[in-house]
Amino acid sequence: MTRQHLAQELDSIRSQVLSMSLLIVENLRKARECVINSDPSLISEIKRTDLEIDALQLSIEDSVTMLIATQQPAARDLREMVALIKILDNLERIGDYAVHFAKASKILAEDPFPRPLDRLIRMSQTCETMLDEAIKAYLNQNESLAVASAEKDDVIDRDHKAFLNEILSLMVDNPARAGQAFKLIQTSTYLERLGDHVTNITEAIVFIITGEHKELNA
């Protein structure tokens, strides 16, 4: 086997993408904990990890660019490197949304919300599962797992709509809570967008595997 250097570098890049994803999944889990407990104490830790995530994105992007410049990849290798730039961009945005999600705990700590936040919590769990599956699909080059991950975006969208209805009915009953309700709507929207970013990642993975641009979960 020739091109050993290229193969080794690609393996190293994949490991770094995995590390970046694990940090994001961990941040999402901590953010969920913050929201469940209405406890913002983990936010500064989450923000520090997000800085690590941002730095990893740039470092991996540089490695990919260097590999394109020095190794002239073709076919699947080239598709993977082009798709990686997209994957990294989406991962970075997901990291940001994890921070936004954690910040919801601040408003809940200031004033406990009178209704359960089950749907919001479930949305965040679905996001974690989607991301976990997407990364496994990338590492194992598994198209059906990528598709299965993207399909879960529908569950997030349904929960988002239902949560909005719950919040809107609360606002009608209790207009004094409009400010807090508005922030929770924003939080739910962040999670809904997070699902879209994971879907973008799964589309990039399918592109690596098949060479085709397929719209998943349009």
Binding site: T2, R3, L6, Q72, A74, A75, R76, R79, E212
Partner: protein, 269 residues
Amino acid sequence: MNETTAPSVVNQNTSLILEIPDPVLRFKNTSIWYGANEAVKSVSMGIKNHAITAIIGPSGCGKSTLLRSINRMNDLIPDCHVTGNIYYHDNDIYDKNLDPVLLRRHIGMVFQKPNPFAKSIYQNIAWGAKINGYKGNLDQLVEESLRQAALWDEVKDKLHKSAFALSGGQQQRLCIARAIALKPDILLLDEPTSALDPISTAKIESLLEELKKFFTIIIVTHNMQQAGRISDYTAFMLTGDLVEYNETKKIFFNPTDERTESYISGRFG
């Protein structure tokens, strides 16, 4: 040329071998043998007019053998014989009544190493034309050929100096000028830049992109990036088999066969 009716090309595997409508050249179950060794195995494919077709593959895959069969250069190799057919328009190249010298006037060739004649730059072009019976204005032909080969500006003031005084890259462009002076239909190039530096290589590559307006170009190259840069179609050969043939962008971005994928990605060869 002898007139025969060529049957349509039957491809081995339609998903791997692209059909070329109205090809200028057609291989039909073409096998090329060196004695009992089948160096090219039943290749069927068409070559598109006014396009650059690259033939790639590892050493010994049969790509140069296939290229040389197109203007019957293999006739000069003892024990080499061809089965199946190669059609140039509707003429069977291996028809026993076909004159290979006449064929080579229609299908010119440039080799790996620049091989100018030990004559002046002018004579390198004029001499070949003269012995091929050219009756027109030789000065005009020399200038036109050198211009087409993007060499005129560099040599116009030293046309009667020895061709050996030129750099390797200039010598190769002179060989291209010499080949196109005969107004061929098809230009065959066997690794034309493998002995050249990157700047000379870039000049030849730009030249070929210009020349495809006038000629059909078939190039054998070891340099995959070169095939990707300049060719419109790429054929990948392995141990004598034509594995995959398609538009270059398809071959380099999303090949169908795993072996093509591995070769294009540099995992063997």
